[in-house]
């Protein structure tokens, strides 16, 4: 057991390192060819990979159908923005509220101790952890009542809580803290891709380890049969709560990263539609497959942001047809999603992980070799 876990950690770290190196390469290529959209897709895809995996932990591994992701992301995104806007810029951002009531910036505080670059990065990472912790705290609060509900009631209740969170953040009386419904901006962000890859990679590695631990097996038991799981001595309430809190934590971190990627954040955008998109990524990748979620996130973002763009350009219409127009891309895309949902219900990966497929292939070739 111990060795298997060490092996996972080792492989995970190697992969993270490899992808970070690759991302540096991709960045070089993007710069040289002027394909900045490649970077957009990779950055956004990386952030969404974490969001999709965190949702998969809940929906796919524990069988809790929650639609509250956008709410926890919102908490993360706002926490990040509020805690990192440089003090000097606060008057400009909180223009109607005299600079707001938060008069410090975590990265700046650390910059004072460790120097601009190192301190800044440490501060940003620490803020991301705070984002996650705060989201986890709210996850715990919401989980207390909500987790007693069953499937679709749980879905609609979590969806409701996400909307309530959004309302409170936009509420005028909290404006000195949240800037009301106005945009938060001018906070520090990572300019390069590799910090995103490293942070997201470490988070996902954490989730993989969790899923393969005793807790993970308990989660799956709950998903497969709640009553049997309870009979086996699994504490349902405790494990559901644990899964909910951990998923909220990573949604919060993901929200912080998303705020960084977007470089300005406003509560208005964090609607149910955002949760639906993440859910669809999970479904396309395969409910219950972490590597599936990761692959699907990049495909989803790639399609919606880049590859299908040509469908939106009326200039590309073949001979007289008026089919291609703004919005057509999303229609094609959603039809594709419906096909996956209806006919390939297991998604790209089903419940398997990437190493499973490699192992299977290795077995097959071995067998074939033996046959000969």
């Amino acid at each position: 057991m111990e060795t298997k876990r060490n092996k996972t950690i080792l492989w995970g770290l190697v992969l993270i390192a490899a992808f970070s190196a690759l991302s540096l390469g991709a960045e070089g290529i993007a710069e040289a060819t002027g394909q900045t959209l490649l970077m957009t897709v990779l950055k956004k895809g990386t952030v969404y990979a974490l969001l999709a995996v965190s949702m998969n932990l809940l929906n796919g591994f524990t069988g809790l159908f929650s639609l509250g992701q956008a709410g926890f992301m919102l908490i993360g995104a706002y926490t990040y923005a509020i805690l990192t806007i440089p003090v000097a810029k606060r008057a400009g951002v909180y223009q109607y509220y005299d600079g707001g009531i938060v008069q410090f910036s975590i990265p700046e505080t650390f910059s004072g101790v460790f120097g601009d670059l190192v301190g800044g990065v440490i501060g940003m990472v620490i803020t991301l952890v705070i984002c996650g912790l705060l989201a986890a705290f709210f996850g715990w609060l919401i989980g207390l009542p909500v987790l007693r509900l069953k499937s679709d009631y749980l879905a609609i209740a979590t969806l409701g809580f996400a909307e309530i969170i959004r309302t409170f953040i936009q509420y005028e009386s909290f404006a000195p803290l949240t800037n009301g419904s106005n945009t938060l901006r001018q906070y520090p962000t990572f300019k390069h891709l590799y910090p995103y890859v490293i942070i997201v990679g470490l988070c996902i590695l954490g989730i993989v380890l969790l899923v393969n631990s005793t807790y993970g097996r308990a989660f799956k038991a709950i998903r497969d049969d709640e009553i049997a799981a309870e009979a086996m001595g699994i504490n349902l309430a405790k494990h559901k709560m644990l899964s909910f809190i951990i998923s909220s934590f990573f949604a919060g971190v993901g929200g912080g990263l998303l705020a960084m990627y977007m470089s300005s954040v406003q509560a208005k955008g964090f609607t149910v539609a955002m949760t639906y998109e993440i859910l669809l990524m999970v479904v396309i990748g395969g409910i219950g497959s972490i590597s599936g979620s990761i692959i699907a996130s990049y495909l989803f973002i790639g399609c919606s942001e880049w590859w299908l763009r040509f469908l939106d350009d009326p200039g590309n219409n073949p001979g007289g047809l008026k089919l291609l127009a703004p919005g057509f891309r999303m229609v094609v895309f959603s039809i594709f999603i419906m096909i996956v949902v209806l006919f390939f219900r297991k998604g790209i990966m089903g419940e398997r992980e990437f190493p499973d497929i490699l192992r299977q292939r290795a077995k097959k070739t071995k067998k074939e070799a033996a046959g000969k």
Binding site: G34, Q35, K89, N182, R185, Q266, N316, I348, G350
Partner: protein, 401 residues
């Protein structure tokens, strides 16, 4: 088997799409040579053509397109470049706006014009700043757009000024004791202008009752009832034209006059107010009687619209000239001046040259200050003549005393 098929299908789709994406990407790489063989410089248009501000954004684009028909080449280093417009749709949404802005950066534009709506402009500002591309806002009036961003400029006046002028209007025209301020939740322009109006009301001794319309809500009766029971003499409603037409309808039945900001200079308001018979006053950027250039623009723009049915339908089907079209025209001309001054197709050089540009436009003089704002201190107040169904000039108002 099924799964294998699914995988193959996905893979095939992705590959074919990647190929397509690669192609379309290749065709618009950088400001190189165009199809005709002559050199091309690209100007990006970052405007909404869908969503709540879609109608207004389209009108701003029309002004830019009209300007492009007037001046479509620029000489850089002795060589003639033709100007190509690259439009994207920010869908009036901040999060969609960021991707749209990135798309512009990726297609290699030298300078960006837009957007209608302050929120989307603020959301995209960091993208342009990072890519070192100058953006010239046409009608985004919130101070936050240019503040602290050396790459964002604008050719219109600012909300603190507009808000105080409108508060004074409420006092002078309606001798208002109480004003109801209606803003749209999550819209930076709306909330900002409402805030500055309220501040000035405080100075003038007008009592303010305020409420915010949540996103997607179309039921305005509650707000109008609240205004009525608060005894409001006037409703101040800086909001999108979509919401405005709903509000005008309801306010008419309560008999409360409306004041609004620059977004209301639009044919939609004209129709709604004429139908409902409400008193409507708003501030705007442009009046055809203000100068010869303004009159000439109006004539030229109208005949251009009437010659082209597509353009006319983009203008809402009528040839009423919106102020945002005039601002779009001015922004384009300022961009061309900056390219000339920089004598370079490099976006950063153009951005540096912009701060030194002076230009006399159809909406007044354009001289940028340190923040990239222009010092325009005249606001045109217009009203709706509900009987004739047209706008009329109420007055020009300068800085409040």
């Amino acid at each position: 088997m099924k799964k294998l098929f699914a995988l193959l299908l996905t893979l095939a789709m992705v590959l074919s799409l990647a190929a397509c994406g690669g192609n379309s990407g290749g065709s618009d790489g950088g400001s190189g040579s165009g199809a005709s063989g002559s050199k091309v410089i690209k100007i990006g248009i970052y405007e909404p053509s869908s969503g709540n501000n879609g109608a207004g954004g389209k009108k701003e684009v029309l002004g830019i397109e009209y300007a492009n028909t007037q001046v479509n080449t620029v000489t850089i280093g002795g060589e003639e470049y033709s100007i190509e417009l690259v439009p994207v749709d920010n869908q009036s949404e901040n999060d969609k706006g960021v991707s749209a802005a990135q798309q512009l950066v990726s297609s290699g534009v030298a300078v960006v014009l837009g957007s209608y709506g302050s929120g989307v402009s603020m959301a995209a500002a960091p993208v342009f700043e990072e890519a070192k591309i100058a953006a010239i806002g046409c009608s985004c009036t919130n101070p936050g757009v240019t503040l602290g961003n050396p790459y964002y400029f604008r050719v219109c006046y600012l909300d603190p000024f507009q808000g105080s002028v409108l508060a004074n209007l409420a006092k002078d025209e309606f001798s208002a004791k109480t004003a109801y301020v209606f803003t749209e939740l999550g819209d930076d322009y709306s909330v900002g202008l409402g805030e500055y109006f309220t501040q000035e009301c405080g100075r003038l001794g007008i009592q303010v009752v305020a409420d915010q319309n949540p996103q997607g809500n179309t039921d305005m009766s509650g707000f109008v009832n609240a205004a009525k029971s608060a005894g409001a003499d006037v409703i101040f409603a800086p909001c999108s034209t979509t919401v405005a037409s709903l509000l005008i309808d309801q306010a008419a039945s309560a008999g409360i006059p409306l004041i609004a900001g620059d977004t209301w200079d639009d044919a939609v308001i004209l129709q709604a107010a004429s139908k409902a018979g409400t008193d409507v006053y708003f501030s705007t950027f442009y009046d055809e009687g203000a100068s010869d250039a303004a009159a000439a623009f109006m004539d030229g723009f109208k005949s251009w619209l009437n010659a082209n049915s597509d353009k006319l339908s983009n203008n809402g089907g009528s040839d009423t000239v919106s102020a945002v079209s005039a601002l779009g025209y001015d922004a384009y001309m300022v961009a061309v001046e900056a390219i000339k001054a920089a004598d370079s197709a490099d976006s950063d050089a153009i951005a540096q040259a912009l701060s030194g540009v002076t230009y006399t436009g159809v909406t007044g003089d354009v001289v940028f200050d340190d923040e990239g704002d222009v010092d325009k201190n005249i606001i045109f107040i217009k009203g709706v003549d509900t009987e004739k169904g047209e706008f009329y000039s109420v007055k020009e108002q300068g800085l409040a005393q």
